[in-house]
Point group: C2
DNA sequence: CGCCGAAGTGAGACTGAGTCTCAAGTAGGA
DNA sequence: TCCTACTTGAGACTCAGTCTCACTTCGGCG
């Protein structure tokens, strides 16, 4: 169930308009997502029913659920993750791991076209505004620990079941959580920059790791 | 919507059997949870309806939802978190932070009575077996980053909005994620030991942080 | 061009979660 | 013992998500 568009440079069979059918489907999907995000923002997530979204996009409720298995998936399903993965793989060999992660975030975000970036920002906004969505995004979005671990294992040339790999993967996920909290507290900070800053801090070791506890 | 019981040290009105009513409620809640966990394990989470649980515990569906706002909450609502927090606060001053976290996990778990520990193990089992529950547990269980941050801030005597505090809190949460992955891969490892081992690794710095990437 | 199979769509039934209201039962204090 | 406040059960209601079935439309092929 990888919907994907893949966007590889030349003669990509995925991008080639494989007939009217495919183009129609892509348009319907985009319309559904566009209206859904608009409605979520205007009325709130819970107050927007699948019927509302379907009606706004002028399709039936059945069709809505055919495109998005759950209402949450409208927010969650992004074509963005693969972009970040690709960016990660594109980081030149020899880059220190955490820096590679941080740089691939920047590069990935920078490589989004305007439409995708706008959509991504609406998603982030929703994640910040509506706790319900934030929770689901944190859980399912972008990458789970296992997934991160697999990427990191490949990146540093270690086996996938290496314990240290899993630990760093956990740390990277934890860094994302921390960045989200920090951005939530001060929305003026960009997410990408905050995440990069957290990773930078961490590459010098875990702060406060040995800080002695004080009487409480 | 904090249902909680607060557990303050002396003459706790929450702990004192405040009459028949309170005891009945506690019993009903425990029965509901007991039957729910049994049914989830036997039939699976999705295949168990709220009606099933209510019927098994011999109350009405309404009553079930009065005790547990959602079906998931039966798994999630634990009386265990406060125990860990208390254990954390009880760690003697001067202990290095990550060690304090690790030790409070052990101490908290050790201080559970048999019934609670058994329940906790069923919950962990469910989290491992049923991805659906694992996801929710990871998200809502035990402590969110903000909560961990608040505890850590207090423990090291820093302001709650200290950025480093948030970063460590993220790392601790990440360590939990990593431990869960490791335990999932090798269920023979105990969760507590694994978590402690991850924290120990981390107190020496983030592993592989500067490992150079290799060509992919 | 016209036919046929496959894919996409809409209508609507159905299950189950979660909310709400109301009436009846019960604990516990006066 | 009686009154009040809390708790419960019954059942209606909304909405998510699944499924089936009939209808339409695309697109290939003779």
């Amino acid at each position: 169930m990888k919907r994907r568009a893949t966007m590889s440079p030349v003669t990509d069979p995925g991008t080639r308009d494989a007939g009217l059918r495919e183009r129609k489907k892509a348009r319907t999907r985009a319309e559904l997502q566009r209206h859904a995000l608009r409605l979520f923002r205007d009325r709130g997530f819970a107050a927007t029913t699948a019927d509302d979204i379907a009606a706004a996009a002028e399709v039936s409720r059945s069709t809505f659920f055919r495109y998005f298995p759950t209402k949450e998936d409208v927010v969650l399903l992004d074509d963005v993750d693969p972009v970040f993965e690709e960016a990660f793989r594109a980081i030149p060999a020899g880059t220190p791991l955490l820096e590679a992660v941080s740089r691939s975030m920047r590069a990935g975000f920078a490589s989004l076209d305007d439409e995708k970036r706008a959509l991504e920002e609406v998603r982030m906004d929703l994640a910040r505004t509506i706790p319900e969505i934030g929770a689901v995004l944190r859980e399912r979005n972008t990458f789970g620990v296992e997934h991160v671990a697999a990427m990191i294992a490949q990146a540093v040339g270690r086996p996938a079941d290496d314990e240290e790999v899993v630990v760093v993967a956990g740390v990277v996920s934890g860094a994302r959580l921390a960045a989200q909290v920090l951005v939530h507290r001060d929305p003026a900070r960009g997410y990408i920059d905050t995440f990069a800053s957290v990773l930078e801090t961490l590459s010098a070791g875990v702060p406060l790791a040995d800080a002695p506890t004080v009487p409480m």
